[in-house]
């Protein structure tokens, strides 16, 4: 494995609180009349993509927005439940930009860039203003002011929310701003179009190749710059809380064209999901982390317990989070809560028919606050739980278990959100930038909107300013022809394999390998096993997959097959990165590296860097480049939530 040193994140100089201001002043500007001379492709219409498309068009740029959904409003940001953080300090409880910065950096286990995280905390304040102006119906107090709640991993109340559907309301705000710009002519929308390749010409991003998912037509689109806002790769595990169509394809194909993939092993396992019930399970459902504000997590002390939860007296219950972490209790960060739940289940104390969950109990909160208050806060979540499990959480505790939820890793970007390919920008969950090794609750919505509304629209001008007068590369250029041919070849290969097993079958098998060896706990032996099993299964996939139908129609099997092909390659990088990182940090827990009482043990002297991987021609030959992380303001310590 080759290692290259010295990747530069291009962090501006100066004191941390002034970096972003100084940088905005120093960046080149495109004058308002010239903005319409530039075309920008934005792939994805979730929070990061829709916010960027709308804002860029408001500024005057000509935007082409692509989504594989039938409508921009369907992007998976819509499913985010809990809330969005902002350092407004409306609760007067000591919050500040610096505290949000500090919490986010600490929560990420000191594996994110200080400058990026500080900027995120700065613009968080503007996001709330922007969303309220758009009409996002955040929760209110009786006096008409905005309400806040505390959320996993924070000791201040800085989370803004809209019942349990915050992501939906924020996305609809961004979608409506986008719809406004579509109607105004600033954005041309391409629904049901899936990006299948990035086109790079003379070392710069020149455009994309996409497939019309209804007619099967493959077309090329060029622009002065390309923005990928295509979400995360959690579905590589098959079972996750991600929407079924969320995938890594756009990112992965950009990676194969030269974009560095950073920290793929930083995957977040969310503690509060409904446990899997059986083999046919197609996805896992998240129960918002906000439930941990009022719910108490416990298991019976006796592994052979057979009584129903309401019959088990308090002194025979183990409230293991409260016991181990008296300061944060049930509100410890996600990675800590998940590992502790796994430990309980591994000790045989799991609950439910398959003994694969722990209780999340609202009994005390209902007794203290009354059922009406709980209903007001969580009713849609309780209803959802009952629909799925047929159990009523007002009567007895929920059963929860961790599931893959979010990925902190993604394409490498510099401070400007530009990848190492000039002209290729990456925003939202698709990039690696702000969450380090673990993301705090209510921070994903913050980052997606920060990137889309307030960061990318400024930084992209710095790149474009020099290109005034240049036309985008023509789509008749050989670089586009070649990329189209590559896409057609893969489609033909997948359709003509004529094997015996479905795409889903392979995807499930891949997911099992990853969950077993690269899930909540990882070991050298397990990762090496995964790295031998995955290529073997991939070979079988290439020989034995059956993709029915044709290339020239709506063909969901074909769509899935291309994505799973990418997962087979990407998963190898995920395991290799996990193997290479000989420490535990945030969502990456290596059993060889833990403290005496089982907490994650970092090795800052050796691993305080971003692992940015380049494509080496085949999935098993990645090239590692390191970007050192330097901490000027927050001194890394072992995270403690006790």
């Amino acid at each position: 494995m080759a290692i290259e040193l010295g990747l530069d994140g291009r962090i501006p100089a100066g004191p941390i609180a002034e970096k972003w201001d100084n940088h905005r002043f120093n960046m080149k500007l495109v004058n308002p009349a010239n903005k319409r001379r530039f075309e920008i492709i934005v792939v994805g219409t979730g929070l990061a993509g829709a916010a960027a498309s709308a804002t860029l068009a408001e500024l005057g740029y000509r935007v082409k927005a692509f989504t594989f959904h039938d409508s921009p409003r369907r992007a998976h940001s819509i499913a985010a439940q809990g809330g969005i953080n902002a350092a407004k300090n409306y609760k007067n409880d000591g919050d500040s930009i610096y505290r949000l910065f500090y919490d986010t950096l600490k929560g990420g286990d000191y594996r994110a860039r200080e400058a990026n995280v500080y900027r995120l905390a700065q613009v968080s304040v503007e996001i709330i203003d922007q969303c309220v102006a758009q009409g996002v119906p955040f929760a209110r107090e009786y006096g008409g002011l905005l309400d806040n709640r505390s959320f996993g991993g924070a000791q201040v109340s800085r989370t803004f929310y809209a019942r349990g559907q915050t992501g939906q309301q924020l996305l609809l705000g961004a979608y409506q701003a986008l719809a406004h710009q579509i109607a105004a002519g600033g954005v041309q929308i391409f629904p049901r179009m899936e990006m299948l390749d990035l086109v790079v010409k003379d070392g710069r991003a020149a455009g994309i190749v996409a497939r019309d998912m209804v007619t099967g037509e493959i077309t090329s689109h060029s622009a002065h710059a390309v923005v990928l806002a295509t979400g995360g790769y959690g579905n590589v595990f098959y079972l996750s809380t991600n929407a079924k169509h969320s995938n890594v394809t756009a990112s992965w194909r950009a990676h194969r064209k030269g974009a560095l993939f950073a920290n793929p092993c930083y995957t977040q396992i969310h503690p509060t999901c409904i446990p899997a019930s059986e083999e046919f399970q197609s996805k896992l459902t998240l129960m918002s982390e906000s439930l941990r504000n009022d719910g108490r997590v416990w298991v019976p002390k006796n592994p052979d317990e057979t009584r129903s939860p309401d019959q088990i007296p308090d002194d025979e219950r183990d409230y293991f989070l409260e016991r181990r972490y008296p300061a944060f209790g049930n509100l410890v960060p996600r990675d800590v809560a998940s590992r502790n739940a796994k430990r309980m289940v591994d000790e045989g104390k799991g609950v439910g028919p398959l003994k694969n969950g722990v209780y999340l109990d609202f009994g005390a909160a209902i007794a203290r606050l009354g059922a009406d208050v709980i209903r007001e806060r969580y009713d849609n979540l309780f209803e959802m739980y009952e629909r799925i499990t047929d159990e009523n959480p007002y009567d007895g505790p929920m059963r929860i278990y961790p599931a893959v939820h979010y990925v902190m890793g993604g394409l490498w970007v510099d401070y400007n959100l530009m990848s190492n390919i000039p002209g290729l920008y990456v925003t939202g969950e698709a990039n690696f930038s702000d969450h380090g090794a673990n993301r705090l609750g209510a921070s994903a919505l913050m980052q997606g909107l920060a990137d889309g509304y307030f960061i990318l629209p400024y930084t992209i001008g710095d790149y474009l300013a020099d290109k005034l007068g240049e036309s985008p590369v023509g789509t008749d250029d050989p670089a586009f022809r070649e990329a189209e041919a590559g896409v057609t070849d893969l489609t033909t290969r997948l359709l003509s394999t004529g094997g015996t097993r479905s795409v889903d079958w392979f995807h499930k098998e891949l997911g099992k390998i990853l969950w077993e060896h690269c899930g909540m706990e990882r070991s050298r032996a397990g990762l090496e096993k995964a790295l031998s099993e995955i290529p073997a299964l991939y070979e079988e996939f290439i020989k034995d997959v059956r993709v029915p139908g044709s290339a020239a129609t709506l063909n969901q099997s074909l769509e899935k097959a291309g994505r799973v092909d990418d997962y087979f390659q990407m998963s190898q990088l995920l395991c290799r990165d996990a193997l290479e990182r000989e420490e535990s940090c945030g969502g990456h827990f290596r059993v060889e590296h833990q403290t005496d009482d089982g907490e994650a043990l970092r090795h800052d002297d050796e691993f305080s860097y971003v692992a940015a991987w380049g494509w080496g021609g085949t999935p098993d030959q990645p090239v590692l480049t390191k970007e050192p992380l330097e901490f000027e303001y927050v001194h890394p310590t072992q995270r403690s939530y006790k």
Binding site: R73, H76, G144, L145, Q169, S277, S502, R546
Partner: protein, 253 residues
């Protein structure tokens, strides 16, 4: 459970379709309806047939992608529930289940159970937004909104844009969808400056695609978010007022 499924199959937008019968064994009551269809598709794929195309994504009842007529009911028999959240425990062993796409001329079938709902996007583009260019907003707490207004607005804003209201309506009207967005924006202080222009534009765009409301109330019953038909009364009132106010405003310019 053993089920007999009668499923609408159609090759493409221009082709004619038909109901095709399939037998499915080993269905568990804990499966979601879509997991039952996954099982059918697995069976079809391995036996060399083309699987049934259907829309789905989040499978948590929030993205609005899924939507099937199940035994003639939009999203099936459970009130306030999207197809993806419907579970097979609501059916019985031996049931015959008919599965069709949304039926409305404004939602043409693309393939099997997949329809084109882009007419909804045209309604939003016509005015379903508050103009607030990025960066122009005042501090969030400068805009006070009484809690009961915020709650009502949220009830309307909960719409997931699935199209069940249209599919359930004998007239294929989109009043509930349009009314929900209008109520969300028209009841907020931020939404006042564009209220009348928004209302007229959205209602008239809606009428370009969809039928008229004759107060059947089927939409509210089919809505997976149980959005109230009361919002349609608000739409009607605001539309009438918008005709008068917009004319007066036009006369002043």
């Amino acid at each position: 459970m053993h089920l007999t499924l009668k499923v609408w199959r159609q090759d493409g937008p221009g082709s004619s379709g038909q109901m095709v019968t399939y037998q499915l064994d080993g269905v568990s009551p804990d499966m979601s309806f879509l997991e039952m269809l996954d099982m059918l598709n697995e069976q079809l794929t391995t036996s060399g047939e083309e699987p049934v195309a259907f829309e789905h994504d989040c499978r948590e009842g929030i993205c609005g992608s899924c939507g099937l007529m199940i035994d003639g009911q939009a999203h099936g028999p459970q009130l306030g529930t999207a197809t993806c959240q419907l579970h097979m425990r609501k059916f019985r062993d031996g049931d015959v289940i008919e599965i069709e796409p949304w039926r409305a001329s404004a939602f043409p079938v693309l393939r099997d159970l997949v329809v084109d709902r882009s007419a909804f996007d045209r309604i939003i583009e016509a005015g379903g937004y508050i103009s607030a260019p990025t960066g122009s907003a005042p501090d969030a707490n400068l805009i006070l909104i009484p809690k009961d207004v915020a709650d009502t607005v949220f009830d309307a804003a909960a719409c997931i844009g699935c199209g069940a209201c249209v599919a359930a309506c004998p007239n294929s009207a989109a009043q509930l969808f349009t009314a929900a967005k209008l109520a969300h924006l028209n009841l907020l202080p931020q939404g006042q400056p564009e209220r009348w222009r928004r209302t007229e534009a959205m209602v008239e765009t809606m009428e370009d695609f969809f039928g008229s409301c004759t107060n059947h109330g089927e939409c509210e019953k089919a809505c997976p978010k149980s959005i109230s038909i009361d919002f349609i009364a608000l739409l009607n009132r605001d539309y009438l007022k918008s005709k008068r106010i917009n004319r007066r405003l036009a006369a002043q310019t």
